[in-house]
Amino acid sequence: MRRSALTTALTFTLPLGTFLGLLLFPFYWMLVTAVRPNKELYNLSLNQLWTLHPTWQHFQKLLFATHFAPWLGNTMVIAVGATTVALSCSVLAAYAVQRLRFRGSGVLGVAIFLSYLVPPVILFIPLARIINELGLWDRPAALILTYPTFLIPFATWLLMGYFRSIPAELEDCARVDGATRIQVLRHITLPLALPGILSALIFSFTLSWNEYLYALVFLSSTGAKTIPVGLATELITGDVFQWGPLMAGALLGSVPVALIYSFFVEHYVAGLTGALKE
């Protein structure tokens, strides 16, 4: 059955083009604003969709006149720290629940799935008190320890699916040859589960990088903040909006995750859909 070019255009090209245009426009707008000098930015008689004289001035202001650089460092430290904690815990837990089948492992698997569903809005108020009592207020450790509460359930669930897909016979063979359980995990299961671990890793990193609520509540001094919180709280001062530096910051803050994403699209999609289908 041959479709006419017009039908294809109306039922496929046009709707898909509209979707992509709307989904990508905010990024375009971010970019165009970030490089537009103030003279053009606040002059409505000019064409708003284009920047005539691109400038780096907003980036310079962002990098040298705000706390963006420390925020970038904080965000990186927290994302790497939380991902490390969460992944170490998740790999061990997922393997134990999926392969060792110890007493109570079934219940634990369900409990981990349930904790995956608890949204941070339910937890942030009591957590603020706990963080305070532990003396972690305003410190990266507050987030490195709390981010795993949403990373571990997700990563464990994802890794359990990967471990399940590795044939148990491979492990049995090694056991017969005299390998200990730890050796089996180190030399056989983990290398085979590497794609899954990579998915869990980049997902955890992105989720930590993007987190807003806990970072807003648990960090208070300007220099301790992360990019998502710092930009929104420190660059919107009263009625003076610094849209240029704000959009430059939004752009720079998005670049790391967008870069990681572009390198690992397949792992990303596999991670997302794998977690949904399990």
Partner: protein, 308 residues
């Protein structure tokens, strides 16, 4: 296979010492391996979960433990017009955003499920709104909704559809619509990619069979795709509903619950009362209203998990 065997010492000793024996016992090793994860989840998830419910029944403030006040907070909240509006906002926000995300996400999934040139790149870039930090895209929306320099207003004026300025975030209903639009924008890719994964598992022979029976595109979707996709659709929708009801950052960055407290959801109102206002007990009680949604979602997902 050869590579794997080579990495395992051929004659590894079965350790005889106590630690070795524990590491060989699946029960002991299992408990040992889950301990770090369980500890973190117990201290920073289960405990605060319980503490939060308890705080909802107390008059705790910042710096004061407070004491049990029974249903006092809940009774107060039910008579509080700002809270009641937040309940209505949450229902409106979640219902309209989730329905739109499902419809548009399904449409996008169906579009990119076809074979076309550039399929891979399109599938990759359509996920971007979901990948980048929501707080940063919220800033872009804040800028797009600027009362004076909004690009939407500029475009509408340019083509003659508007003459004055539009105060997107100054009018309650317009502000709600603006927030819902931003939420939909962010959520479409999640639905699309989730549903696309389901679409790819539908066997083409089913469509061919339906075609032989004379089914048109709409009938093929309704009688083949939709029933097969239903379980996954339910999972994605349940998950998205929890996240939408529990949304915080989009609202907080774009309107802070304003104008005049007209766009609060549970999360933003709880933050305002507990963290900014210091009324921990009241804020915890507001957060607790997310629980019924959560329980409902858990029941639905269990129902579907059991059927599979």
């Amino acid at each position: 296979m050869a590579g794997i065997e080579a990495t395992v010492p051929a004659r590894a000793r079965r350790p005889a010492d106590l630690i070795g024996r524990i590491l060989e016992n699946p029960h002991a090793l299992g408990v040992l391996m889950v301990t770090p994860a369980v500890l973190i989840l117990a201290i920073f998830l289960a405990y605060p979960f319980g503490l939060g419910v308890w705080l909802g029944f107390t008059n705790a403030t910042i710096g004061q433990a407070g004491h049990f006040v029974g249903l006092g907070n809940f009774r107060y909240l039910l008579g509080d017009s700002v809270f009641r509006l937040a309940v209505l906002n949450t229902i409106l926000y979640a219902a309209s955003a989730v329905v739109c995300k499902l419809l548009l996400g399904m449409l996008l999934a169906l579009l990119v499920n076809r074979e076309f040139r550039g399929k891979r790149i399109v599938r990759a870039i359509m996920l971007l709104p979901w990948i980048v930090p929501t707080s940063l895209s919220a800033l872009v929306f804040y800028w797009i909704y600027d009362p004076t320099f909004s690009v939407i207003t500029w475009a509408l004026r340019r083509i003659g559809l508007a003459h004055g300025f539009i105060n997107y975030l100054g009018d309650p209903n317009l502000a709600r619509a603006s927030l819902i639009a931003a939420n939909i924008w962010r959520g479409i890719p999640f639905f699309a990619i989730g549903l696309l994964a389901g679409l790819q598992t539908v066997s083409t022979t089913l469509y061919e069979a339906a075609e032989i029976d004379g089914a048109g595109p709409w009938q093929k979707f309704w009688f083949v795709t939709w029933p097969l996709l239903l379980p996954l659709t339910v999972v994605v929708t349940v998950f998205s509903t929890i996240m939408t009801v529990g949304d915080f950052q989009l609202i907080w960055i774009i309107t802070r619950g304003g104008p005049a407290n007209a766009t609060h959801l549970f999360g933003t109102l709880a933050y305002q009362r507990a963290i900014q206002g210091g009324f921990i007990g009241e804020g915890a009680a507001i957060s607790a209203f997310v629980l019924p949604v959560l329980v409902g979602a858990v029941l639905v997902s269990f129902h579907y998990l059991r059927r599979e």
